[in-house]
Protein backbone atom coordinates (compact mmCIF):
# COMPACT_ATOMS: atom_id res chain seq x y z
CA UNK A 1 0.00 0.00 0.00
CA UNK A 2 2.85 2.37 0.85
CA UNK A 3 4.48 1.74 -2.50
CA UNK A 4 1.15 2.14 -4.32
CA UNK A 5 0.58 5.59 -2.77
CA UNK A 6 4.14 6.75 -3.45
CA UNK A 7 3.93 5.54 -7.03
CA UNK A 8 0.52 7.15 -7.46
CA UNK A 9 1.93 10.46 -6.27
CA UNK A 10 5.02 10.34 -8.49
CA UNK A 11 3.42 8.85 -11.61
CA UNK A 12 0.57 11.35 -11.17
CA UNK A 13 3.06 14.21 -11.13
CA UNK A 14 4.69 12.81 -14.28
CA UNK A 15 1.31 12.61 -15.98
CA UNK A 16 0.51 16.23 -15.13
CA UNK A 17 3.98 17.30 -16.28
CA UNK A 18 3.29 15.56 -19.58
CA UNK A 19 0.14 17.74 -20.02
CA UNK A 20 -1.53 15.50 -22.61
CA UNK A 21 -4.18 14.26 -20.22
CA UNK A 22 -4.66 17.71 -18.70
CA UNK A 23 -5.44 19.05 -22.16
CA UNK A 24 -7.44 16.17 -23.60
CA UNK A 25 -9.24 14.92 -20.48
CA UNK A 26 -9.78 18.08 -18.43
CA UNK A 27 -9.57 21.18 -20.63
CA UNK A 28 -11.13 19.83 -23.83
CA UNK A 29 -14.48 18.75 -22.31
CA UNK A 30 -14.69 22.11 -20.54
CA UNK A 31 -14.13 23.96 -23.82
CA UNK A 32 -16.78 21.87 -25.57
CA UNK A 33 -19.43 22.27 -22.87
CA UNK A 34 -18.73 26.00 -22.82
CA UNK A 35 -19.22 26.26 -26.58
CA UNK A 36 -22.41 24.19 -26.43
CA UNK A 37 -23.58 26.30 -23.49
CA UNK A 38 -22.95 29.55 -25.30
CA UNK A 39 -24.80 28.30 -28.39
CA UNK A 40 -27.73 26.48 -26.76
CA UNK A 41 -27.86 27.94 -23.24
CA UNK A 42 -30.86 26.48 -21.43
CA UNK A 43 -32.77 25.71 -24.62
CA UNK A 44 -34.57 22.37 -24.74
CA UNK A 45 -32.94 19.62 -26.77
CA UNK A 46 -35.76 19.87 -29.33
CA UNK A 47 -39.20 21.45 -29.44
CA UNK A 48 -41.25 20.04 -26.59
CA UNK A 49 -38.35 18.17 -24.97
CA UNK A 50 -38.40 17.91 -21.19
CA UNK A 51 -34.64 18.33 -20.98
CA UNK A 52 -32.15 20.88 -22.26
CA UNK A 53 -29.61 20.40 -25.01
CA UNK A 54 -26.84 20.55 -22.42
CA UNK A 55 -28.51 17.83 -20.36
CA UNK A 56 -28.79 15.69 -23.44
CA UNK A 57 -25.08 16.19 -24.20
CA UNK A 58 -23.86 15.70 -20.64
CA UNK A 59 -23.39 11.90 -20.82
CA UNK A 60 -21.35 12.16 -24.00
CA UNK A 61 -19.18 14.96 -22.63
CA UNK A 62 -18.46 12.85 -19.54
CA UNK A 63 -16.97 10.17 -21.75
CA UNK A 64 -14.40 12.43 -23.42
CA UNK A 65 -11.92 12.09 -20.55
CA UNK A 66 -12.47 8.33 -20.42
CA UNK A 67 -11.74 8.18 -24.14
CA UNK A 68 -8.58 10.25 -23.79
CA UNK A 69 -7.30 8.01 -21.00
CA UNK A 70 -8.40 4.62 -22.21
CA UNK A 71 -7.94 4.94 -25.94
CA UNK A 72 -5.05 7.39 -26.17
CA UNK A 73 -3.15 7.72 -22.90
CA UNK A 74 -3.08 4.16 -21.63
CA UNK A 75 -2.05 2.24 -24.78
CA UNK A 76 0.81 4.62 -25.51
CA UNK A 77 1.95 4.65 -21.89
CA UNK A 78 1.95 0.87 -21.58
CA UNK A 79 3.89 0.40 -24.82
CA UNK A 80 6.29 3.18 -23.85
CA UNK A 81 7.00 1.73 -20.40
CA UNK A 82 7.64 -1.63 -21.97
CA UNK A 83 9.90 -0.14 -24.65
CA UNK A 84 11.88 1.82 -22.05
CA UNK A 85 12.21 -1.41 -20.04
CA UNK A 86 10.56 0.17 -17.02
CA UNK A 87 8.28 -2.86 -16.69
CA UNK A 88 11.35 -5.08 -16.88
CA UNK A 89 13.06 -3.10 -14.12
CA UNK A 90 10.08 -3.87 -11.86
CA UNK A 91 10.66 -7.55 -12.51
CA UNK A 92 13.88 -7.40 -10.52
CA UNK A 93 12.27 -5.70 -7.54
CA UNK A 94 9.92 -7.12 -4.90
CA UNK A 95 7.02 -5.34 -6.60
CA UNK A 96 5.26 -6.76 -9.63
CA UNK A 97 5.27 -4.67 -12.82
CA UNK A 98 1.48 -5.06 -12.78
CA UNK A 99 1.41 -2.64 -9.87
CA UNK A 100 2.65 0.32 -11.89
CA UNK A 101 -0.03 -0.47 -14.48
CA UNK A 102 -2.68 -0.41 -11.74
CA UNK A 103 -1.27 2.92 -10.60
CA UNK A 104 -1.87 4.29 -14.09
CA UNK A 105 -5.36 2.79 -14.32
CA UNK A 106 -6.06 4.68 -11.10
CA UNK A 107 -4.63 7.90 -12.51
CA UNK A 108 -6.78 7.68 -15.66
CA UNK A 109 -9.84 6.93 -13.53
CA UNK A 110 -9.12 9.97 -11.37
CA UNK A 111 -8.82 12.24 -14.42
CA UNK A 112 -12.14 10.91 -15.70
CA UNK A 113 -13.88 11.39 -12.36
CA UNK A 114 -12.48 14.90 -12.00
CA UNK A 115 -13.71 15.75 -15.49
CA UNK A 116 -17.27 14.65 -14.57
CA UNK A 117 -17.25 16.79 -11.43
CA UNK A 118 -16.00 19.86 -13.32
CA UNK A 119 -18.53 19.39 -16.15
CA UNK A 120 -21.35 18.93 -13.65
CA UNK A 121 -20.38 22.10 -11.76
CA UNK A 122 -20.14 24.19 -14.93
CA UNK A 123 -23.40 22.84 -16.34
CA UNK A 124 -25.19 23.38 -13.04
CA UNK A 125 -23.89 26.85 -12.29
CA UNK A 126 -24.24 28.32 -15.78
CA UNK A 127 -26.99 26.37 -17.47
CA UNK A 128 -29.19 25.03 -14.63
CA UNK A 129 -28.28 21.42 -15.29
CA UNK A 130 -30.17 18.85 -13.23
CA UNK A 131 -29.75 15.10 -13.17
CA UNK A 132 -33.23 13.96 -14.19
CA UNK A 133 -32.52 10.28 -13.87
CA UNK A 134 -30.71 8.34 -11.21
CA UNK A 135 -27.27 9.36 -9.98
CA UNK A 136 -26.56 5.79 -8.93
CA UNK A 137 -27.46 4.52 -12.37
CA UNK A 138 -25.26 7.20 -13.91
CA UNK A 139 -22.35 6.17 -11.71
CA UNK A 140 -22.80 2.51 -12.58
CA UNK A 141 -22.95 3.33 -16.30
CA UNK A 142 -19.94 5.61 -16.02
CA UNK A 143 -17.99 2.84 -14.30
CA UNK A 144 -18.95 0.40 -17.03
CA UNK A 145 -17.79 2.79 -19.76
CA UNK A 146 -14.59 3.49 -17.83
CA UNK A 147 -13.76 -0.17 -17.33
CA UNK A 148 -14.48 -1.12 -20.91
CA UNK A 149 -12.44 1.74 -22.40
CA UNK A 150 -9.50 1.08 -20.06
CA UNK A 151 -9.63 -2.60 -20.93
CA UNK A 152 -9.39 -1.75 -24.63
CA UNK A 153 -6.44 0.52 -23.86
CA UNK A 154 -4.66 -2.11 -21.80
CA UNK A 155 -5.19 -4.68 -24.53
CA UNK A 156 -3.87 -2.41 -27.28
CA UNK A 157 -0.87 -1.30 -25.20
CA UNK A 158 -0.24 -4.87 -24.13
CA UNK A 159 -0.03 -6.32 -27.62
CA UNK A 160 1.39 -3.39 -29.64
CA UNK A 161 4.95 -4.04 -30.77
CA UNK A 162 6.20 -0.59 -29.74
CA UNK A 163 4.91 2.80 -28.69
CA UNK A 164 4.81 4.05 -32.27
CA UNK A 165 2.47 1.22 -33.28
CA UNK A 166 0.45 1.71 -30.11
CA UNK A 167 0.02 5.37 -30.93
CA UNK A 168 -1.21 4.57 -34.45
CA UNK A 169 -3.78 2.07 -33.16
CA UNK A 170 -4.74 4.53 -30.43
CA UNK A 171 -5.42 7.27 -33.00
CA UNK A 172 -7.49 4.91 -35.11
CA UNK A 173 -9.64 4.11 -32.07
CA UNK A 174 -9.67 7.49 -30.37
CA UNK A 175 -10.56 9.98 -33.09
CA UNK A 176 -13.51 8.15 -34.70
CA UNK A 177 -14.98 7.29 -31.30
CA UNK A 178 -14.48 10.83 -30.04
CA UNK A 179 -16.21 12.39 -33.03
CA UNK A 180 -18.83 9.82 -34.04
CA UNK A 181 -19.94 8.05 -30.88
CA UNK A 182 -21.84 11.05 -29.58
CA UNK A 183 -19.11 12.24 -27.21
CA UNK A 184 -18.61 15.54 -29.02
CA UNK A 185 -20.91 15.59 -32.06
CA UNK A 186 -24.43 14.91 -30.71
CA UNK A 187 -25.79 11.51 -31.78
CA UNK A 188 -29.24 13.07 -32.24
CA UNK A 189 -28.16 15.36 -35.08
CA UNK A 190 -26.77 12.46 -37.11
CA UNK A 191 -28.87 11.08 -39.99
CA UNK A 192 -30.53 7.69 -39.41
CA UNK A 193 -28.11 5.75 -41.56
CA UNK A 194 -25.13 7.29 -39.78
CA UNK A 195 -26.62 6.43 -36.39
CA UNK A 196 -26.86 2.83 -37.50
CA UNK A 197 -23.19 2.82 -38.51
CA UNK A 198 -21.88 4.48 -35.36
CA UNK A 199 -23.93 2.09 -33.21
CA UNK A 200 -21.17 -0.42 -33.89
CA UNK A 201 -18.74 1.56 -31.77
CA UNK A 202 -18.71 0.47 -28.15
CA UNK A 203 -18.58 4.01 -26.86
CA UNK A 204 -21.86 4.83 -28.67
CA UNK A 205 -23.52 2.16 -26.56
CA UNK A 206 -21.82 3.47 -23.43
CA UNK A 207 -22.98 7.02 -24.07
CA UNK A 208 -26.54 5.80 -24.61
CA UNK A 209 -26.46 4.36 -21.11
CA UNK A 210 -25.06 7.57 -19.62
CA UNK A 211 -27.63 9.62 -21.50
CA UNK A 212 -30.53 7.52 -20.35
CA UNK A 213 -29.29 7.76 -16.77
CA UNK A 214 -28.93 11.54 -16.99
CA UNK A 215 -32.28 12.19 -18.63
CA UNK A 216 -34.26 9.54 -16.79
CA UNK A 217 -35.57 8.10 -20.03
CA UNK A 218 -36.66 4.52 -20.29
CA UNK A 219 -33.84 2.02 -19.76
CA UNK A 220 -35.78 -0.81 -21.39
CA UNK A 221 -33.92 -1.36 -24.66
CA UNK A 222 -30.64 -0.28 -23.12
CA UNK A 223 -30.00 -3.66 -21.59
CA UNK A 224 -28.59 -4.71 -24.92
CA UNK A 225 -26.04 -1.88 -24.63
CA UNK A 226 -25.18 -2.89 -21.08
CA UNK A 227 -24.70 -6.53 -22.02
CA UNK A 228 -22.61 -5.59 -25.08
CA UNK A 229 -20.36 -3.33 -23.02
CA UNK A 230 -19.96 -5.91 -20.28
CA UNK A 231 -19.16 -8.64 -22.76
CA UNK A 232 -16.61 -6.45 -24.50
CA UNK A 233 -14.97 -5.40 -21.25
CA UNK A 234 -14.63 -9.00 -20.14
CA UNK A 235 -13.19 -10.05 -23.51
CA UNK A 236 -10.58 -7.30 -23.49
CA UNK A 237 -9.64 -7.92 -19.87
CA UNK A 238 -9.11 -11.62 -20.58
CA UNK A 239 -7.24 -10.69 -23.78
CA UNK A 240 -4.94 -8.27 -21.95
CA UNK A 241 -4.11 -10.84 -19.31
CA UNK A 242 -3.52 -13.59 -21.83
CA UNK A 243 -1.61 -11.75 -24.52
CA UNK A 244 0.16 -9.02 -22.57
CA UNK A 245 3.84 -8.68 -23.47
CA UNK A 246 5.99 -7.58 -20.60
CA UNK A 247 9.00 -7.33 -22.90
Amino acid sequence: MKSFCTMLKIEGKLSIRDMNMVIFAIIMPVVIITILGIIYGTKPAFDGAEYTFIEQSFGGLCSIAICAGGLMGLPILVADYREKKILKRFKVTPVSPAKILFVHLTIYSLYSALSVVILWLIAKVFWKFTMKGSILLFMAGWLLVLISMLSIGMFVGGIAKNSKKASIIASVLYFPMLVFSGATLPYEVMPDIMQKIVDVMPLTQGIKILKAATLGTDMGNLWISVILMLFMAIMFIIGSIKFFRWE
Partner: protein, 251 residues
Protein backbone atom coordinates in the same frame (compact mmCIF):
# COMPACT_ATOMS: atom_id res chain seq x y z
CA UNK B 1 36.78 -20.83 -4.63
CA UNK B 2 38.45 -19.46 -1.57
CA UNK B 3 37.59 -16.31 0.19
CA UNK B 4 40.23 -13.78 0.98
CA UNK B 5 39.84 -11.35 3.85
CA UNK B 6 38.10 -10.96 7.11
CA UNK B 7 34.80 -12.73 6.57
CA UNK B 8 36.23 -16.21 6.98
CA UNK B 9 33.78 -17.20 9.67
CA UNK B 10 30.91 -16.55 7.29
CA UNK B 11 31.70 -18.61 4.25
CA UNK B 12 28.20 -19.10 2.91
CA UNK B 13 27.71 -19.37 -0.82
CA UNK B 14 25.76 -16.33 -1.99
CA UNK B 15 25.33 -17.24 -5.63
CA UNK B 16 25.42 -20.68 -7.19
CA UNK B 17 24.88 -21.25 -10.91
CA UNK B 18 24.74 -24.85 -11.97
CA UNK B 19 24.80 -25.99 -15.61
CA UNK B 20 22.74 -23.09 -16.91
CA UNK B 21 21.91 -23.19 -20.61
CA UNK B 22 19.72 -21.08 -22.83
CA UNK B 23 19.05 -21.01 -26.55
CA UNK B 24 16.91 -18.88 -28.85
CA UNK B 25 15.26 -20.70 -31.73
CA UNK B 26 17.86 -23.41 -31.69
CA UNK B 27 20.77 -20.98 -31.46
CA UNK B 28 22.70 -21.43 -28.23
CA UNK B 29 23.05 -18.20 -26.21
CA UNK B 30 24.44 -19.60 -22.95
CA UNK B 31 26.12 -22.98 -22.90
CA UNK B 32 26.48 -24.74 -19.57
CA UNK B 33 27.40 -21.84 -17.31
CA UNK B 34 28.69 -22.72 -13.85
CA UNK B 35 30.02 -20.62 -11.00
CA UNK B 36 29.81 -20.03 -7.30
CA UNK B 37 30.39 -16.84 -5.40
CA UNK B 38 30.83 -16.36 -1.69
CA UNK B 39 29.97 -13.41 0.46
CA UNK B 40 31.92 -10.25 -0.39
CA UNK B 41 33.37 -11.59 -3.62
CA UNK B 42 33.10 -9.94 -7.00
CA UNK B 43 32.77 -11.85 -10.24
CA UNK B 44 33.35 -10.24 -13.60
CA UNK B 45 31.70 -11.77 -16.65
CA UNK B 46 33.68 -10.86 -19.75
CA UNK B 47 33.30 -11.45 -23.44
CA UNK B 48 32.72 -9.72 -26.75
CA UNK B 49 29.35 -8.24 -27.66
CA UNK B 50 26.97 -11.11 -28.31
CA UNK B 51 29.06 -13.59 -26.30
CA UNK B 52 26.12 -14.09 -23.93
CA UNK B 53 26.92 -11.80 -21.00
CA UNK B 54 23.59 -10.01 -20.73
CA UNK B 55 21.61 -13.16 -21.49
CA UNK B 56 23.51 -14.92 -18.70
CA UNK B 57 22.68 -12.17 -16.21
CA UNK B 58 19.04 -12.16 -17.27
CA UNK B 59 18.72 -15.91 -16.94
CA UNK B 60 20.35 -15.79 -13.52
CA UNK B 61 17.88 -13.11 -12.42
CA UNK B 62 14.92 -14.93 -13.92
CA UNK B 63 13.87 -12.16 -16.34
CA UNK B 64 14.70 -14.62 -19.11
CA UNK B 65 13.76 -18.24 -18.79
CA UNK B 66 16.68 -20.61 -18.95
CA UNK B 67 16.23 -23.97 -20.69
CA UNK B 68 18.24 -25.98 -18.24
CA UNK B 69 20.15 -25.56 -15.01
CA UNK B 70 19.81 -24.62 -11.39
CA UNK B 71 20.22 -21.21 -9.83
CA UNK B 72 20.43 -20.21 -6.20
CA UNK B 73 20.89 -16.63 -5.11
CA UNK B 74 21.07 -16.20 -1.32
CA UNK B 75 19.72 -19.74 -1.21
CA UNK B 76 16.61 -18.77 -3.18
CA UNK B 77 15.29 -19.54 -6.64
CA UNK B 78 14.93 -16.20 -8.45
CA UNK B 79 12.04 -17.39 -10.61
CA UNK B 80 10.00 -18.61 -7.63
CA UNK B 81 11.04 -16.43 -4.69
CA UNK B 82 11.13 -13.17 -6.63
CA UNK B 83 9.41 -11.03 -4.02
CA UNK B 84 11.58 -12.22 -1.17
CA UNK B 85 14.83 -12.38 -3.09
CA UNK B 86 14.70 -8.89 -4.60
CA UNK B 87 14.27 -7.34 -1.16
CA UNK B 88 17.96 -8.23 -0.79
CA UNK B 89 19.33 -8.12 -4.34
CA UNK B 90 19.99 -4.98 -6.39
CA UNK B 91 20.14 -4.93 -10.18
CA UNK B 92 21.30 -2.48 -12.80
CA UNK B 93 20.51 -3.46 -16.37
CA UNK B 94 22.57 -2.34 -19.31
CA UNK B 95 20.53 0.69 -20.28
CA UNK B 96 18.95 2.91 -17.71
CA UNK B 97 15.21 2.28 -17.56
CA UNK B 98 13.45 5.37 -16.41
CA UNK B 99 10.46 7.51 -17.30
CA UNK B 100 11.25 10.33 -19.75
CA UNK B 101 10.22 13.26 -17.58
CA UNK B 102 11.20 11.90 -14.17
CA UNK B 103 13.46 13.76 -11.75
CA UNK B 104 16.28 12.30 -9.68
CA UNK B 105 14.44 12.62 -6.36
CA UNK B 106 11.27 11.16 -7.86
CA UNK B 107 12.97 8.07 -9.24
CA UNK B 108 14.79 7.58 -5.93
CA UNK B 109 11.61 7.94 -3.91
CA UNK B 110 9.67 5.62 -6.20
CA UNK B 111 12.41 3.00 -6.13
CA UNK B 112 12.77 3.28 -2.34
CA UNK B 113 9.03 2.69 -1.92
CA UNK B 114 9.42 -0.78 -3.43
CA UNK B 115 11.53 -2.05 -0.53
CA UNK B 116 10.68 -2.87 3.05
CA UNK B 117 13.80 -1.27 4.45
CA UNK B 118 15.31 0.98 1.78
CA UNK B 119 18.61 2.82 1.98
CA UNK B 120 18.63 6.53 2.80
CA UNK B 121 18.87 7.79 -0.77
CA UNK B 122 19.49 11.42 0.18
CA UNK B 123 22.55 10.26 2.07
CA UNK B 124 23.66 8.20 -0.94
CA UNK B 125 23.15 11.13 -3.33
CA UNK B 126 25.36 13.14 -0.99
CA UNK B 127 27.98 10.42 -0.73
CA UNK B 128 28.14 10.00 -4.51
CA UNK B 129 28.30 13.74 -5.13
CA UNK B 130 25.03 14.24 -6.97
CA UNK B 131 22.90 15.69 -4.17
CA UNK B 132 22.76 19.07 -5.92
CA UNK B 133 21.13 17.30 -8.90
CA UNK B 134 18.27 16.04 -6.75
CA UNK B 135 15.68 18.20 -8.52
CA UNK B 136 17.05 17.76 -12.05
CA UNK B 137 15.48 15.64 -14.73
CA UNK B 138 17.46 12.45 -15.19
CA UNK B 139 17.78 13.04 -18.92
CA UNK B 140 19.61 16.29 -18.12
CA UNK B 141 22.34 14.57 -16.08
CA UNK B 142 25.76 13.84 -17.53
CA UNK B 143 26.63 10.22 -18.30
CA UNK B 144 28.75 9.92 -15.17
CA UNK B 145 26.09 11.43 -12.93
CA UNK B 146 23.47 9.14 -14.41
CA UNK B 147 25.61 6.04 -13.80
CA UNK B 148 26.18 7.12 -10.20
CA UNK B 149 22.43 7.45 -9.83
CA UNK B 150 21.95 3.94 -11.21
CA UNK B 151 24.47 2.58 -8.72
CA UNK B 152 22.43 4.23 -5.96
CA UNK B 153 19.26 2.62 -7.32
CA UNK B 154 20.93 -0.82 -7.40
CA UNK B 155 21.96 -0.32 -3.79
CA UNK B 156 18.54 0.92 -2.69
CA UNK B 157 17.45 -2.41 -1.11
CA UNK B 158 20.58 -2.40 1.13
CA UNK B 159 21.46 -5.52 -0.84
CA UNK B 160 23.50 -8.56 0.05
CA UNK B 161 24.21 -9.06 -3.64
CA UNK B 162 24.12 -6.80 -6.70
CA UNK B 163 24.20 -7.42 -10.44
CA UNK B 164 25.61 -4.64 -12.62
CA UNK B 165 25.48 -4.99 -16.39
CA UNK B 166 28.04 -2.84 -18.20
CA UNK B 167 27.84 -0.14 -15.63
CA UNK B 168 30.67 2.00 -16.98
CA UNK B 169 30.12 1.66 -20.74
CA UNK B 170 29.97 5.11 -22.25
CA UNK B 171 31.67 6.89 -19.36
CA UNK B 172 34.82 9.00 -19.62
CA UNK B 173 37.99 7.96 -17.81
CA UNK B 174 37.37 10.06 -14.73
CA UNK B 175 33.76 9.01 -14.35
CA UNK B 176 34.87 5.40 -14.61
CA UNK B 177 37.45 5.85 -11.88
CA UNK B 178 34.80 7.49 -9.70
CA UNK B 179 32.46 4.55 -10.25
CA UNK B 180 35.25 2.12 -9.29
CA UNK B 181 35.93 3.99 -6.09
CA UNK B 182 32.28 3.78 -5.14
CA UNK B 183 32.04 0.08 -5.99
CA UNK B 184 35.21 -0.69 -4.04
CA UNK B 185 33.88 1.00 -0.95
CA UNK B 186 30.63 -0.96 -1.27
CA UNK B 187 32.59 -4.15 -1.77
CA UNK B 188 34.40 -3.49 1.50
CA UNK B 189 31.02 -3.53 3.18
CA UNK B 190 30.77 -7.19 2.23
CA UNK B 191 28.39 -6.96 -0.72
CA UNK B 192 28.66 -9.75 -3.27
CA UNK B 193 28.79 -8.44 -6.84
CA UNK B 194 28.40 -9.80 -10.32
CA UNK B 195 29.30 -7.40 -13.08
CA UNK B 196 29.88 -7.43 -16.80
CA UNK B 197 32.42 -5.17 -18.42
CA UNK B 198 34.37 -4.44 -21.57
CA UNK B 199 37.22 -2.76 -19.71
CA UNK B 200 40.10 -4.93 -18.57
CA UNK B 201 41.59 -2.32 -16.25
CA UNK B 202 38.25 -2.16 -14.49
CA UNK B 203 38.04 -5.91 -14.15
CA UNK B 204 41.59 -6.11 -12.73
CA UNK B 205 40.70 -3.42 -10.24
CA UNK B 206 37.38 -4.78 -9.03
CA UNK B 207 37.00 -8.49 -9.64
CA UNK B 208 38.19 -11.37 -7.48
CA UNK B 209 37.22 -13.82 -10.17
CA UNK B 210 36.52 -13.63 -13.85
CA UNK B 211 34.52 -15.74 -16.21
CA UNK B 212 35.31 -15.29 -19.89
CA UNK B 213 32.62 -16.12 -22.44
CA UNK B 214 33.29 -16.75 -26.07
CA UNK B 215 30.40 -17.59 -28.39
CA UNK B 216 28.18 -18.53 -25.44
CA UNK B 217 30.76 -20.89 -23.93
CA UNK B 218 32.91 -20.43 -20.85
CA UNK B 219 36.53 -20.38 -22.02
CA UNK B 220 38.09 -19.33 -18.74
CA UNK B 221 37.14 -19.22 -15.08
CA UNK B 222 39.49 -18.14 -12.30
CA UNK B 223 41.42 -15.11 -11.07
CA UNK B 224 42.97 -12.42 -13.24
CA UNK B 225 46.43 -13.73 -12.24
CA UNK B 226 45.53 -17.24 -13.31
CA UNK B 227 44.29 -15.92 -16.65
CA UNK B 228 47.58 -14.16 -17.27
CA UNK B 229 49.55 -17.24 -16.20
CA UNK B 230 47.55 -19.45 -18.54
CA UNK B 231 48.40 -17.26 -21.50
CA UNK B 232 51.73 -16.52 -23.19
CA UNK B 233 51.43 -12.84 -22.17
CA UNK B 234 52.17 -10.67 -19.10
CA UNK B 235 49.30 -8.21 -19.41
CA UNK B 236 45.72 -9.15 -18.61
CA UNK B 237 44.29 -7.38 -21.65
CA UNK B 238 46.57 -9.43 -23.92
CA UNK B 239 45.62 -12.57 -22.07
CA UNK B 240 41.93 -11.76 -22.48
CA UNK B 241 42.31 -11.14 -26.21
CA UNK B 242 44.23 -14.39 -26.49
CA UNK B 243 41.48 -16.25 -24.62
CA UNK B 244 38.74 -14.86 -26.84
CA UNK B 245 40.70 -15.03 -30.10
CA UNK B 246 38.42 -16.30 -32.84
CA UNK B 247 41.20 -18.14 -34.69
CA UNK B 248 41.95 -20.20 -31.59
CA UNK B 249 39.36 -22.85 -30.83
CA UNK B 250 38.72 -25.07 -27.83
CA UNK B 251 40.72 -23.64 -24.90
Amino acid sequence: MKINGKEECNMDTMIRINQMSKSYNGKIAVDNLNFELEKGQTMGILGANGAGKSTSIECILGTKKMDKGEIRILGMNPAKDRKKLFQRVGVQFQEGNYQTEIRVDELCEETASLYRDPADWKFLLDKFGIREKENSLIKDLSGGQRQRLFIILAFMPKPDAVFLDELTTGLDARARRDAWKILKSLKEEGITMVLTSHFMDEVEELCDYILVLKKSRTVFKGTVKEAVAASPYDKFEDAYLWLTDDSKEGV
